[in-house]
Point group: C2
Chain length 159, copies 2
């Protein structure tokens, strides 16, 4: 069974987001071993300078890089990444499963991801040209993965 | 104050989606008069034929068209629509506000939207190449609109 590790920065603050994540975790347990790792977001002042943001991203990068399993297929979520249709994502997931026992998906903090993390990944994936809060993005990603597994399993979830 | 009418088909079944919608409704009340209209999804058998789906979409179209205010700027949400960045959506919202007192956004059922609805709209908007459940899409759309208002107001919500 494929191990899906979702590495994200910051906690899910809204109860409805925590409930949504719990629901998708339950649903995904039929398809993969899901491992959701929440790293601590580096605290920044109210109006941080570019330098302060860069330093925070750098600290977050260190934590993220230590969580990336060397043998896993690694995907960085970023707005400039490649967008895929649900069918193409399903095929991608299928081909990754053939060669890897683990897939790591990384979602940055509200300031995004350091280039160090992006370079360490095999692929940059985007879900939208719109910016979404990183916390909601986590739910959207869980949904996208759940749908991909369903497409590959031939269930009726994806019409 | 701009009236934002979100016309969608089907109810929000998951409690976490209802909570999310309530939270965004509260937040949006500072920026617009939000009117969320939920139409009844036409019931279909477990494995509907293309003809049955078309008939259901047709029935849903009648209900949707009767909710579309003639003077409003009308947007159909569909995967083949145009994707915008959050900044471009904010500009679009601003220019719509200058000419219209109301904007209608239409989200179809799990089988999508009839061409009749798409043709009756001024614009087709997509949030992603990925397919998302229409219920989650409602939350994503509320977030996108909330972010657009924040960008136009110059708050710190959008970094």
């Amino acid at each position: 069974m494929l191990c899906v590790k979702i590495i994200s920065v910051g906690t899910l603050k809204e109860p409805y987001l925590r409930d949504a994540a719990a629901e998708y975790s339950k649903r995904l347990s039929s398809y993969c071993r899901l491992n959701m790792v929440q790293l601590k977001e580096v605290k920044l002042p109210d109006s941080p300078s570019q330098k302060e943001i860069a330093a925070a991203l750098d600290d977050e990068a260190k934590m993220i890089l230590s969580e990336l399993s060397p043998r896993a297929y690694k995907i960085a979520m970023c707005v400039e990444g490649k967008q895929l249709s649900s069918e193409t994502l399903a095929k991608k997931l299928d081909s990754i499963s053939a060669e890897h026992s683990e897939i790591c998906l990384v979602i940055g903090s509200s300031h995004g991801l350091s280039d160090k993390v992006k370079s360490a990944c095999d692929m940059r994936l985007s879900v939208s040209e719109l910016t979404f809060p990183h916390q909601l993005l986590r739910i959207m990603l869980l949904e996208a993965i759940y749908r991909a597994f369903n497409i590959n399993a031939g269930t009726k979830y994806h019409k």
